[in-house]
Structures are given as structure tokens and as C-alpha cells.
Symmetry: C2
Subunit: 451 residues, 2 copies
């Protein structure tokens, strides 16, 4: 009986195993003609074991393309689990910048163990790319570029591109160099196609205004440059103007995605580069300074309340109502803060326009303050039947909301005027102001009119 | 004497006027060879009067290019001040989608007055574009595309593109249509260049997986599509698959820029499309609902304090210290909130990964809570010499910071699980929670241990 059972189980397991194998084969077969980005999505939806099985049964060229498109976290996990020889082969199939990106997420020991299995020339190129700071142009650039001698003719150049296109990605631009390999110009395919066939490129170039970036320039500046000119790619050069690579539009989209959400993190004093993959102790280290600043700031508003302890001792309901005043003004001010930070992030700074935006926020604060103030007046009166208390509360609330909006709008503009990051910890400073002002007006008016 | 004075003044004015004229001529001459994006920047740095003078003295083709690149606000102001005939000529020089964008910022009367001065065919195209919702693919698309019949050969297609390129922008892709003008495929220049010259395009296409978007699709979905595939452009079609235009990588960069900062606005309950150019009364209307929600929420924490009015009446210093507890936990929680909202915006949702990120935030909350708690314990003891008060305060603070982090991290994940926008008003709900929990622990412990 027992034996039979075991046999059934073994058979079942075998069947299961075969089903999984079939699944893997099916998945692998299905994935042959999909776009790498979709293939990456499909891989991500599998378990790690399945990922390894599918990837090892794919053509290496396809597998490399899919892995290059996967999300960093999933990709690193998969690379760690693949047989080293196979993983190294995949790196060879990738473009060197993709390979460098993949390796960047692995620890040093693993990096070295894979790199020594990669062909020498390729490994050297990847290692060079790994030395660039990942926040600079060098760290995000692509090294597969079409370089053309300026003494060629337009037709020769097109021929050259046509043959190079079989090997590399689509060349958006042809990069024209002189005899010393210095970058002297950039021509689009369109420029080449429209040039008289026999004309030398040095003549086609004429007096071109060359836009480029140094390898150590901040990647956000590179993104701004490409966006400003609506280019598809910006060439990256060393100090001697030798071409090292290009930063392309898709890299820039990633950079912009990252950058835009940095403001939100900065506003509340989190680390601007923080992600959910940042080691948590490092996050503590980044956030703690601003939390300590926040304690110090809260101490100011606590001191304001302390001034009115006598009043609160006599009328404890004030302690219950005062957080409403502060909280409401803080929220209203944060709305202004967010709108202004967004404006400053999206446009070049224009002093007049910025201050007129502050005036706009003040108007919004007045109207919102009046409406919410009246609402609160009604609520407090219905609950306490104390008309004086209702009036004091609603006046303090309305006033503090105006203060909140003006402060929320001004803080980033002032930070910008001082040459600082307009988002950095702005929410913390705003709350200090709205808390202190709210407690002071509310408790002050209460002391004068209610006791 | 008086007359002489006037003459001098007139001569001075004439000189001044000539100097300005010279300036304008110089500026205009300087601007002939600059990139449109730089020209737009130069224009923006001038006063409105100077802008009008410079623009009217430029070649119309250059002027149109510069204006298309200007910021919306500056551009609308300038267009309103240009002579209508001249402004209409500029619109004719622009690509129809740029012209539609420019007109979109003018009021209806002004739009109509300019459009009736534009050549009929062009005006019709611009008007059609203006009918699309500006938040959809149709609203951002470019209509100048290179359409090619699928019965052409690769070489004929290249010839066609070569001649079209003189008129329009760089064609990133050739869009292949059937006899009924339905989109059947997309080929890059690279595909065409690598095809055997005599091969018909229908054969080159084979079984292509065609990626496209309908004209009424949300522009953010279009942006995600382009980003996902790293395309340079996505074709826009109507329900019958007829090609209407393309959304290009530079449009997508603008969309992403806008979208990413929407989270920051959503978090605090401002309108997600709000800019500093939104009419202020409309901003009031968008923000007010969340401010009212916030009042209702604050009422909850006020009620918590109300429960302990007896305690506060006996020991008013608690009222001074309790905002520190709430404020600190709120700030710490907002840091978690921002990190998680950013993760949800940048990656596709992965339940397991999201909840492990919440666990990470909890760890950060514990450590930050302990450190800040000890600091506050020391501070309160030094100021009040009351060790019990210091202990109660620091324990409540540390605990509330952990609650803040867990809540700040969970709220967007829960909203996401419910299929809602993870950012929407999340900061408001968080503050209610940290306030209530902070007041309750602090005042509750104080009632038990201090009275």
C-alpha cells in the first residue's frame, strides 16, 4: 500500500515535472518573436526557477535582449542564479553599456567572476564603462556609435551607415571626426540624404553649432540639454573632445522619470536618490538629519503653546481645537508648496512670474480660508453653543490658512533665489510656520476674548 | 528756454529710439543662425515690446520656429500682441500641431480671428487638431508623417522619404498603408536601408507585431507605450485604423515631466493638472474638497484630545508637547509615503515587493523612532526635570513614528490594491492617523503615569 502510494506520487511528480518542462518549452517558443520589452515583462511574471529555465532554453541573443529590458531588481536576482558561463555569454551578446548596467547591480565578487569569463576586448570595454560615476553622462552613455571621417563624401557615409546598421542599433546620427579622432560635427541621416552625393562631409558641416556633453557632466544636465534641443542623442566627449559615446532619448526618459519624483522626496526631507532598494540603514542616515531639524522646529511651536499654558489650564477645549487650526493651515500650505515646486521644476526661473504665482496662492488662501472658516464656525457653534469660541476659532483658522498658502508658495521661491534646491525640506519649514502662527493667533485671541 | 528743452528731449528720444532700433536689428541678425530652442530662450529674456519688434523683423520661417519653442505663457502673450496678419502668417509657417498648440492658449475670439486669416486647407487641419482633447493621443500628436503604399519597393520608399524630408521634419519611421489607407505596418529607415532594394514592402513587413494607439487614448498611456518599447514615435489611428498622426519622443518627455510631478500635487490634495497659470478660482474648486475632508479628519484627532481634557486641565504642559509628537510622526510618515509613491509610479505593481517595502519602512521607523525618542527624552528632562514626563513623551514619540512610517508606506499600497490613484490625498489621511495615534498614546500614558 505504502509502496503503491509512493509510486503514484513519483509518477505524479514526473508528470508534473514534464508539464513544467512543456510549459517552459512553450514559453520559450512563444517568446521567440516578441518585442524584448514584452519578453522582459513575461519573464518578470515567472518565478525565479522558471525564469532560469526559460532563459537557458532561449536563443542567447534573445535572452540577452530580454534581460537588458528587465527591471533592475528582477534582473540582478536572475543573473545571480544563472550558470556563470551562460551569464557571461549573455553579457557578450549585450551592448557594452547594457552589460555594464546589468553588472552594476551585482556585488564586486560576482562582477569579477563574470567579467573574467567574458572575451578580453569586450570585458575591457565593460570595465571602462563601470568606472564612470552612474550619475554622470559617462555612466548612462551608450558606446555603440557610428563614427565617420570628415573626408568621406555623403554617399560614402550612407554606405558606411548601411553596413554598420546590420551590427548595431539604429544610428540616429553620424558623428564626424577629424584625423585625430576629435569630434567635429554631427549629421543626421536626413542631412546626409539631402546632401549632394559627392560632397565632402567637412563641407556639409560648414559652421555647425556643435552640441555635446563632457563625460563627467551631471546626467540631469545632459537630460535638460537633450530635452532643450529635442535631440535624439547627445554625444559624450572627454576633455580632448574625443568621442566616448552618446546619451540617447530613452536614457533621458529614465533620468527625467527619476528626477521629477525627487522633488516629492526632497520636500519631506527623505533622500532624493532613495528607492525601496536602498539599504534601510542608509535611509535612516539620510532622513534622520531632517527629522532632528523637525524636532527643533516643533519645539518652536511647542514654546508658543507654552506661553498660553495658563489659558489652556482654564479652558482645556482649546487644546483639542488647536490642532485643527494648525493641521488645516499646514495642508493648505502644502498644496501651494507642491504647485510652486512643480512650476520651478518645469520652467526656467523667472522672478516676476514666481512672485505673481505667490500672489495667486494668497488669493486662493483667502477664499479657501473664508469658506472653511465659516464651515468650522458653524461646526464649533453646534457642538459647543459658544459663539465667541466659534468666531475666534474660525478667524484664527482662516488667517492661518492664508499664512500657510503665502508661506508654502514663498519658501521654494526664496530657496531658489538663494540658489538652493527649492524642494529641500520645504514641508518641514512650512509646518513650523503654520503651527506656530496657528497656535499663536488661536490661543492669543482666546486669551483676549474668551477668558 | 522751454522750447529748447523740448527739442533736446525730442532729440534724445530720437537717439534712444534709434539705439533701440539698432539693438533690435542686432538681435534679429544674431538670431538668424541659432537653434530654435536657443532663439526661444533669447526671446523670452526680452520685454514684450522688444519681443514684438524682434519677431517682426525676423524671417517668418525663423520667427515661427522660435515661437513654437517658447514657453506657453510667454508665447500666448506674444501672439496676442503681434499684428493679426503677421501672427496668421507665422501659424502657416508652423507644423499644424505646433500651430494648434499655440492657438490652444488663446481665447476663442482670438483663435477665430487668426484662423480666418490662415489659408483654408491649413486652417481646416489646425481646427481638426484643436477638436481633440489635449489629454489624449490626438491632442499631442504631430500630423506630418511619411505615409507609404505597401506596394512600393524598399528603394522607391527611400526615394519617397528623401524627397519628403526636404519639406517636413526628420521621418523616424515610414508608415505603410494599404489601398484603403489603413495602417498595416511601420518600418524604420534602418529596416528600409537593409531590405533588398527591389523587394515590395508588404513582403518586408511580414508578420509584424504592430504597435499603435487610438486617438482618444490617454496621453499618459501613450507615453508608457513609447517608453516601454523605447520607440521614437507611436502611430495614432482612428477606429478604422486610418493613420491620423504620430506621438514622438519629445512629446513623451513633456508628458512624463508633467505626470511625475502630479503625484506631489495629488499627495496633498491639490488638482493634479494645476499649474500656476490655472485660474485661481478653479484652483479653489479643486483644492476645497480635500480641505473639507481634512477638517473632518482633524475633528477625529480633536476628539481624541477632547477625551483627555481633564488631564490637560491638570497639566497644561501636555498641550504644549503633544504637537511635537504628532508633527514628528507626520513628517517621518511623509518620508515613507514619498518613497513608496515614487516606487509605485516607476515600476509596475508587484504586491510582494510592495509589502516588503512597507516592512523596510517599519524598520526605518523603529530606528529613527529610538534615536529621536532618546534625543527628545534628554531635551524634555533638561527643560522640565521631570523624568516621568520625559519617558512618557519619548515613548509616545517613538511609537508614533513607527506608526507613521507603517501608515505612510501602507496607504499608497492599499489605494493601489483598491485600484485607486496611490497618491491621491494620501498625506491628509496619514496626518489624521499620526495625529490621533500620537495624541492618544501621549495623553493616555500621561493620564496613567503622571497624574
Amino acid at each position: 500500500m505504502k509502496k503503491e502510494e509512493r509510486i503514484t506520487t513519483e509518477q505524479e511528480q514526473l508528470q508534473k515535472f514534464r508539464a513544467v518542462e512543456d510549459d517552459v518549452e512553450n514559453t520559450a517558443a512563444e517568446m521567440e518573436n516578441v518585442h524584448p520589452a514584452d519578453g522582459a515583462d513575461q519573464l518578470e511574471s515567472l518565478s525565479l526557477t522558471e525564469q532560469v529555465q526559460v532563459v537557458t532554453s532561449l536563443e542567447k541573443e534573445d535572452a540577452a535582449e530580454f534581460i537588458a529590458e528587465m527591471e533592475r531588481h528582477d534582473r540582478a536576482r536572475l543573473m545571480r542564479d544563472l550558470p556563470p558561463e551562460f551569464a557571461a555569454d549573455l553579457l557578450e551578446e549585450m551592448s557594452p553599456d547594457d552589460a555594464a548596467d546589468v553588472l552594476d547591480d551585482l556585488d564586486d565578487a560576482h562582477q569579477q567572476s563574470l567579467l573574467k569569463r567574458v572575451e578580453d576586448e569586450e570585458a575591457l570595454e565593460i570595465e571602462t564603462l563601470l568606472t564612470f560615476d552612474s550619475n554622470t553622462a559617462g555612466g548612462v552613455m551608450n558606446t555603440e556609435v557610428t563614427v565617420i571621417d570628415r573626408n568621406m563624401t555623403a554617399d560614402q557615409a550612407i554606405q558606411r551607415i548601411r553596413s554598420a546598421a546590420e551590427e548595431t542599433e539604429i544610428p540616429y546620427y553620424a558623428y564626424i571626426v577629424d584625423e585625430m579622432d576629435h569630434l567635429v560635427g554631427v549629421l543626421s541621416l536626413r542631412d546626409l540624404m539631402l546632401s549632394p552625393p559627392g560632397q565632402q562631409l567637412r563641407e556639409v558641416l560648414g559652421k555647425q553649432h556643435l552640441v555635446y556633453t563632457y563625460f563627467d557632466e551631471d546626467k540631469e544636465d545632459v537630460a535638460r540639454k537633450l530635452t532643450h534641443y529635442n535631440f535624439l542623442a547627445v554625444p559624450v566627449v572627454d576633455r580632448e573632445m574625443r568621442l566616448l559615446g552618446v546619451v540617447t532619448h530613452d536614457d533621458v526618459i529614465d533620468i527625467i522619470h527619476e528626477e521629477a519624483s525627487e522633488d516629492m522626496l526632497g520636500m519631506v526631507g527623505a533622500g532624493q536618490d532613495e528607492t525601496t532598494d536602498t539599504p534601510w540603514v542608509q535611509s535612516v542616515r539620510m532622513r534622520l538629519p531632517w527629522l532632528v531639524v523637525n524636532v527643533a522646529n516643533s519645539a518652536i511651536s511647542a514654546w508658543v503653546v507654552h506661553l498660553f499654558e495658563g489659558t489652556i489650564g482654564e479652558m482645556a477645549i482649546l487644546a483639542a481645537l488647536m490642532p485643527i487650526v494648525a493641521n488645516q493651515a499646514g495642508n493648505s500650505g502644502q498644496q501651494s508648496l507642491a504647485v510652486i515646486i512643480r512650476q520651478l521644476a518645469m520652467e526656467s526661473f523667472d522672478r516676476k512670474r514666481a512672485w505673481s504665482a505667490v500672489a495667486r496662492e494668497a488669493r486662493i488662501g483667502v477664499l479657501n480660508g473664508i469658506i472653511v472658516g465659516l464651515l468650522v464656525m458653524l461646526g464649533v457653534f453646534l457642538l459647543t453653543h459658544n459663539i465667541q469660541l466659534a468666531c475666534v476659532m474660525s478667524f484664527a483658522l482662516g488667517l492661518d490658512m492664508c499664512i500657510g498658502n503665502v508661506a508654502g508658495a514663498s519658501i521654494p521661491v526664496i530657496l531658489q533665489e538663494l540658489g538652493r534646491d527649492p524642494a529641500q525640506a520645504s514641508s518641514i519649514f512650512l509646518t513650523t510656520l503654520t503651527d506656530s502662527a496657528g497656535f499663536f493667533t488661536f490661543l492669543g485671541l482666546a486669551t483676549v476674548f474668551l477668558l
